[in-house]
């Protein structure tokens, strides 16, 4: 009697797993793209590459190819239309950038105000290299032997004679 619910449960789990694996196989990039017809395979290749490199303005961290937002759908159709009209990739990028700003480009242009973005990582790398280089260079010198003078000074400081400390402090002040 109790075996039947168990079997049902197993079947349910198996079904869920199957559905899950099916969902994983069809990648989101493919799921979102509606069928778009092109005259040449070259046009289709350009279309796929453009929608992959453009960012969806609505869903911040998806490209146009992956996004299910209505605006991504509209922009994909727009790009397809511009390709059919014979516009170059550069013109299509400019078209979208003019309307949606740099945000739509996942590949930001190199300009004065984006210099930090482009050169920042190299600057950080340089700082890292300098730090590592200094650590490596400084290492052999690290275990320094105490000199005779140091030892004398240590003994002097450890000595509990008050007069001596006062005199030292006085001489420090004179030296300064």
């Amino acid at each position: 009697m109790r075996l039947i619910p168990m079997m049902l449960l197993l079947k349910l789990v198996a079904g869920l797993l199957l559905a899950l694996s099916a969902a994983m196989v069809s990648s989101p990039a493919l799921a979102a793209i509606e069928p778009v017809e092109f005259a040449t395979p070259e046009q289709e290749r350009r279309y796929r590459s453009l929608i992959a490199e453009m960012r969806c303005p609505k869903c911040q961290n998806e490209n146009l190819a992956e996004s299910n937002a209505p605006i991504a759908n509209d922009l994909r159709l727009m790009i397809a239309e511009l390709i059919r009209d014979g516009q170059s990739d550069r013109e299509i990028r400019a078209f979208l950038q003019e309307r949606y700003g740099d945000f739509i480009l996942y590949n930001p242009p190199l300009r004065a105000d984006t210099l930090l973005l482009w050169l920042g990582p190299f600057a950080l790398l340089l700082i890292g290299v300098i730090v590592v280089w200094r650590i490596i260079r400084g290492q052999p010198q690290a275990p320094q032997a105490t000199t005779a003078v140091d030892e004398a000074r240590v003994r002097e400081l450890l000595g509990d004679s008050d007069t001596q400390t006062d005199r030292d402090a006085g001489s420090d002040r004179q030296g300064a």
């Binding site: 303005p57 609505k58 911040q60 605006i71 509209d74 922009l75 950038q97 700003g101």
Partner: protein, 181 residues
């Protein structure tokens, strides 16, 4: 010199705090800066929602400051801001031109008949083509178009009392001051 080095971590920490402060006090990151500011309203030719036989072009702009509100019946936020738009229209007399964005014309007309229309008229944009020209990425969006037909301001999201007072009024005041000069 070595004494100064001790302050290096503190300095770095303060720089980090500064960066984080600036980063977290930024506006909603979902709100994109518009590229349309200070540009002419894009040219278009589309039919009017209320009367599909009437064609509307960018020639409707000029000579007066208007609000352009992008809305749709499928957009709950548009419904939320509808009453505020009506208040604005009644209290300020500012003309509001609607862009009915990617909507069903019959539903949109029924919606206006039911809730009342703050719009002088609506441009019907079923494909969202005018929306793309304007850099619209969701409804509602509201533009201020000046007397020269230039876009002066854009607000993404609902226009409520606070947004109206804090964001729109200064822009409109500046336009008025400019016109008075």
């Amino acid at each position: 010199m070595s004494r100064l080095k001790l302050f290096l971590p503190l300095g770095l920490f303060l720089i980090l705090v500064g960066l984080l402060y600036a980063g977290f006090s930024l506006d909603d990151p979902a709100r994109l800066p518009s590229t349309m500011i200070d540009r002419d309203f894009p040219s278009f030719e589309m039919s009017q929602l209320e009367d599909p036989d009437t064609m509307v072009t960018e020639a409707i702009f000029g000579g007066r400051t208007v609000l352009v509100n992008v809305w749709a019946t499928w957009c709950p936020t548009c419904k939320a801001e509808h009453a505020e738009l009506q208040r604005i229209q009644e209290e300020t007399g500012l003309p509001i031109i609607g862009i009915n964005y990617k909507d069903d014309a019959d539903e949109a007309r029924a919606w206006l008949a039911r809730y009342g229309s703050p719009y002088e008229f609506n441009i019907y944009d079923p494909q969202g083509r005018l929306g793309i020209e304007l850099g619209v990425y969701g409804a509602p969006e509201t533009f201020v178009v000046d007397a020269q037909g230039r876009i002066q301001f854009k607000w993404v999201g609902d226009v409520n009392r606070r947004v109206w007072n804090n964001e729109f009024l200064p822009v409109l005041q500046a336009l008025e001051d400019q016109a008075a000069l």
